[in-house]
Every structure is written in structure tokens, then in C-alpha cells.
């Protein structure tokens, strides 16, 4: 047996403050973008059990490898807002203080530097949460492209341990550890409050799983990080919480069709191709990438991101080719995996628009044979909205 997963330990891997904790829990560790991260915890059931815990109950992830960049001015005169508007594609002016948005930083070509979550901390104070593998590139990009703006750029990546508590019962777990009433916090909003006695902790109702949940940002020293991790597990015990690795983080986000940098989005893929139109506000004014995106929009798409479901036996994997009936290449799989929730083999792929209609048959080249797949609606999984059940209840 030999795995095609890339071998680890080529250069010195970076570690989060919870690295020793993961090893004590018997996590299987992998090299993820230069970081030594837990992919799953076999002793607690492994990837599928972790995935199901998040869909049906609650799980906790160490996501401290994510980076954080603060863009701020001292006197709230709009310099930071102007800088954020210049380097990101969503409209940060629409954010209230305490609100966050999915957005992206673009190259002038309209392709991706990285996708980011922009949090408005104050009138002229923003926190960008960025990907682990693109940290250095991102911080350099932000510094270079905000140099002419009147704002301060701080890299805070190593000052936070970031935990993601995800799943329908996440709110009950975190509620036990904080005085703040979490219920009024809406999806993609955040607040500051004490967690386990730690003051002024950023608590955001965000995540990368397609499930309800929270991300908290605590001081990154090992003692604090380990104590908090243990308290979250303790508080979650009655709800069946388990530690979750990057393996299920990937299957969860894939089911929810959330983009992963280097896969669905990259420096070679533009906003329209990735189908992220609703996060790109062309009407907000100029921003890096806008003029080329306008041109690309007028020119039309050559490829578009679609969801696939395997019909024939076989699992589509990242970078496998999509082919037509004759075996000619027509596209590429960006992410593919068995879906633990749906018990089907699913994938995201770039295909020509002419082959992207729902129900269209395509083929995936799997080793030396092609397996039939079809285009299906996305997201593959969408959680039931609580408000709907509440509405139904009140209608009765």
C-alpha cells in the first residue's frame, strides 16, 4: 500500500499552539500548506465520525493556522475603509460594526490573491481572516496595495489561537462558557465578550462547514490555548462533542460548496468562473481587478464551476480530468470526495458553460477508465433554516 498523499516533513513545518495537544490525542498529522495539522483523530472515530458529529451535533476544530490582518486608523477618518474597499471585491461600506462578510482580494486580472472574511471591528477598523497557505503572500499584497492609503496594517496571525466550534449544538456548548447571550448574534455577525474568564474575546458566528457555529479568537500562548480547548471539550461532552481535523473540514465545506484556495479559486480563475458573483460588488466603485472583470463579463465565460455526482462506480478526486464520451478532455475536477452526509461521490469541476446545465452527463477519467457523472444542483448539502421551523411552529 502506498498513499498518493504528499509526503510530509520536507522543510520545517509550522505548528499551532495546540500541536502537542493534537499529538497527545493521537491525531494523524499532515502537511497542510506548510503547517503540521491534524487531518483526523482515529482514536475518536476518525474522519466520517467527525463529519457526522458536526452535521448532527457539534465538533471543535483548531484553525489557528488561519491568518489575521488588521487594517485600522486611529481617528476613524475613513482611511482604513478606503483601503479595504480598494483591495477587496465585496462592499465593506455596507458592514455595520460587529458584522462580517465573505470577500476576496483580487489581482488586476480579476483572479484570486485569496478569499477572506472581512470583519468590521470599528468605524475605521477591519480584521481580515485569510488562508494559512497564503499568509506571506497576502500580507505583502495588503501592505503594497494599501501603502498610499492613510491606514495602519498589522499582522496578528500569531497572536490568536482560533477555535471553530461547529454544528447545530455549537451554540449550547459555547453558551456554557460565556456570559454573552449568543442567540441574538446572527450568522456572519460577531461580538466581544469573556470566554472561560478570558476578557474581550472575539466571538464570531462564522465557519467553514455549512453548519451553524462559532469561531473564537483567544490569546495564542500554549497554556491558554490548551486550557480553552479542554474546557470546550468538557462543556461539549453532554452534546457528544469530538475534536475534528482538516479531513472532515474539507468534506464539510465541499458538501456546502464553499471554495478552497488552490482548488475552486486561484490566481488563474476569475470571480465569474468561480460563480462568486454575489460577493463581488461592481457598483461599489473601483477596486483592484474590477476593470478586467468588467471586460471578462462582456466577453463571456469559457468555463464555469459546477457540482457533479458520480453515477458510475468511482470517486472523482482533485485534479482528475473531465472528458466527453469520446474521452477528449473537457474540464477538470477541483475537489472531489465521497460525501459522508449524502453517501454519494461528489465533486466540483470546471466545465464549459455548454456542458453545465443540470442533468448533463459528463465523464471523469479515473486512472485508466472513464466513469459517468452528471451535473447536479449545488450546494450538495444545505442545512435546514431554524427560522423556517420556527415559522412553521408559529403557523400551527
Amino acid at each position: 500500500m502506498e498513499s498518493t498523499v504528499e509526503p510530509s516533513v520536507i522543510t520545517e513545518l509550522r505548528k499551532t499552539p495546540l500541536n502537542a495537544m493534537h499529538r497527545r490525542l493521537g491525531a494523524k498529522m499532515v502537511n497542510f500548506g506548510g503547517w503540521d495539522m491534524p487531518v483526523e483523530y482515529p482514536s475518536r472515530g476518525g474522519l466520517v465520525a467527525e463529519h457526522k458529529a458536526v452535521r448532527g451535533g457539534v465538533g471543535v476544530f483548531d484553525v489557528s493556522h488561519m491568518g489575521d490582518i488588521r487594517i485600522v486608523t486611529a481617528h476613524a477618518h475613513g482611511g482604513a475603509l478606503a483601503a479595504v474597499q480598494h483591495i477587496t471585491m465585496n462592499d465593506a461600506a455596507k458592514l455595520a460594526i460587529g458584522q462580517a462578510q465573505y470577500s476576496a482580494m483580487l489581482y488586476p486580472s480579476g483572479t484570486f490573491v485569496d478569499d477572506v472574511i472581512v470583519h468590521r471591528l470599528g468605524d475605521d477598523d477591519f480584521l481580515l481572516v485569510i488562508n494559512a497557505g497564503t499568509r506571506e503572500k497576502d500580507i505583502n499584497w495588503v501592505r503594497e496595495n494599501t501603502a498610499s492609503h492613510d491606514c495602519k496594517v498589522e499582522e496578528l496571525s500569531d497572536t490568536y489561537t482560533q477555535l471553530a466550534i461547529q454544528g447545530p449544538r455549537a451554540i449550547e456548548v459555547l453558551q456554557k462558557l460565556t456570559d454573552i447571550n449568543l442567540h441574538p448574534i446572527k450568522n456572519y455577525w460577531f461580538t466581544h465578550g469573556s470566554v472561560c474568564g478570558l476578557k474581550n474575546i472575539l466571538i464570531a458566528r462564522t465557519g467553514y462547514t455549512g453548519e451553524d457555529g462559532f469561531e473564537i479568537y483567544v490569546p495564542s500562548d500554549v497554556a491558554t490555548s490548551e486550557a480553552l480547548w479542554a474546557k470546550v471539550l468538557e462543556a461539549g461532552r453532554e452534546f457528544g462533542i469530538i475534536p475534528c481535523g482538516l479531513g472532515c473540514r474539507n468534506t464539510l465545506r465541499l458538501e456546502a460548496k464553499m471554495a478552497l484556495y488552490g482548488h475552486e479559486i486561484s490566481e488563474n480563475i476569475n470571480v465569474w468562473e468561480a460563480g462568486l458573483d454575489r460577493y463581488c460588488k461592481m457598483e461599489k466603485g473601483d477596486f483592484i481587478g474590477r476593470s478586467e472583470l468588467q471586460r471578462a463579463k462582456d466577453a463571456g465565460l469559457n468555463r464555469t464551476l459546477v457540482g457533479l455526482e458520480m453515477i458510475e462506480r468511482g470517486i472523482a478526486r482533485d485534479e482528475y480530468r473531465c472528458v466527453d464520451e469520446q474521452g477528449e478532455p473537457v474540464g477538470v475536477i477541483t475537489s472531489g470526495s465521497p460525501s459522508p452526509t449524502l453517501c454519494k461521490n461528489i465533486a466540483l469541476a470546471y466545465l464549459p458553460p455548454s456542458m453545465s446545465a443540470m442533468g448533463t452527463t459528463t465523464y471523469v477519467q479515473i486512472r485508466n477508465q472513464k466513469a459517468k457523472a452528471q451535473v447536479v444542483p449545488t450546494p450538495f448539502y444545505k442545512r435546514a433554516k431554524k427560522s423556517t421551523t420556527q415559522q412553521l411552529a408559529s403557523n400551527v
Binding site: 500500500m1 502506498e2 498513499s3 499529538r23 483526523e40 482515529p42 474522519l47 466520517v48 470517486i315 459522508p340
Partner: protein, 133 residues
């Protein structure tokens, strides 16, 4: 889990159990543990010739695709059809009911190059030390 003393083992974590010139081949408990939840198995049809050290099939977990290498050369006489519907058996019973293929050995002398259970156990305990280093 114990490694049956009558089996022979490869460095790529396959086992072979030979009786009367017929070898039953599978993957070891160590291998299934490394893979995680097995969700897909692809095996050669009876009549296929396999060659020592060459890939003859694949086992996939949710996360990864792994090639399976032939511990010996020979001709496939049977593939474990049950694994198509119940690949998870590879996690629960890798040394017995979740065997992969049966082969008629081309050259029984090839067996001498494989590890016995003791040598294999020593080999994986070194691997585990590396992993936790």
C-alpha cells in the same frame, strides 16, 4: 491486532498467506489504520497476471487513494467481490474476511524476500516511532 505468524508481509503493508501454491493477498491492520475509513476498492478480474512489486489495485479512503502492490507474481484466480459492496470490512477484518485476491503463484521462491510476522512487527514499530517523533 496480531499479525498471523503463517503470513508473509511486504514493506508496503500487504500480506500473503500461501497454501498449496495458492496465495491469498490482503492489506495489513497497519495499512487500514493509516488509510482511515475505506470507502472504495478496485481489484483485478480473475485471469489477470500480476507482477511482484507492481500495483494490482487501489483502495480508497475518504481522504486518499492508495495503490496496492503485488507481494508475488502470478495469476489472479479470484477477487473478493464482497468488498465492492462492503469496503468498510477492510477496516474491521483486514487479515481474514477482507482479503483482496487469490493468486496462483508463478515463482514460490519470491516468498523468501518477504518479512515474517516478527520482522514486520519490528518494521512497523519503527514506522510508528518515526511518526511520533
Amino acid at each position: 491486532m496480531t499479525y498471523p505468524p503463517s503470513y508473509r508481509y511486504t514493506q508496503q503493508h500487504e500480506w500473503i498467506d500461501v497454501k498449496d501454491g495458492l496465495g491469498t493477498i490482503g492489506i495489513t491492520d497497519y495499512a487500514q489504520h493509516e488509510l482511515g475509513d475505506v470507502v472504495f476498492v478496485e481489484l483485478p478480474k480473475p485471469g489477470t497476471k500480476i507482477q511482484v512489486g507492481k500495483s494490482f489495485g487501489t483502495v480508497e479512503s475518504v481522504k486518499a487513494v492508495s495503490e496496492i502492490y503485488a507481494p508475488v507474481s502470478g495469476e489472479v484466480v479470484e477477487a473478493n467481490a464482497e468488498l465492492e459492496a462492503t469496503p468498510e470490512k477492510l477496516n474491521s477484518d483486514p487479515h481474514n474476511s477482507a482479503w483482496l485476491i487469490r493468486v496462483k503463484l508463478a515463482d514460490p521462491a519470491e516468498l523468501a524476500k518477504l518479512m515474517d510476522a516478527k520482522a514486520y512487527e519490528a518494521y512497523i514499530s519503527e514506522k510508528n516511532k518515526e511518526a511520533s517523533a
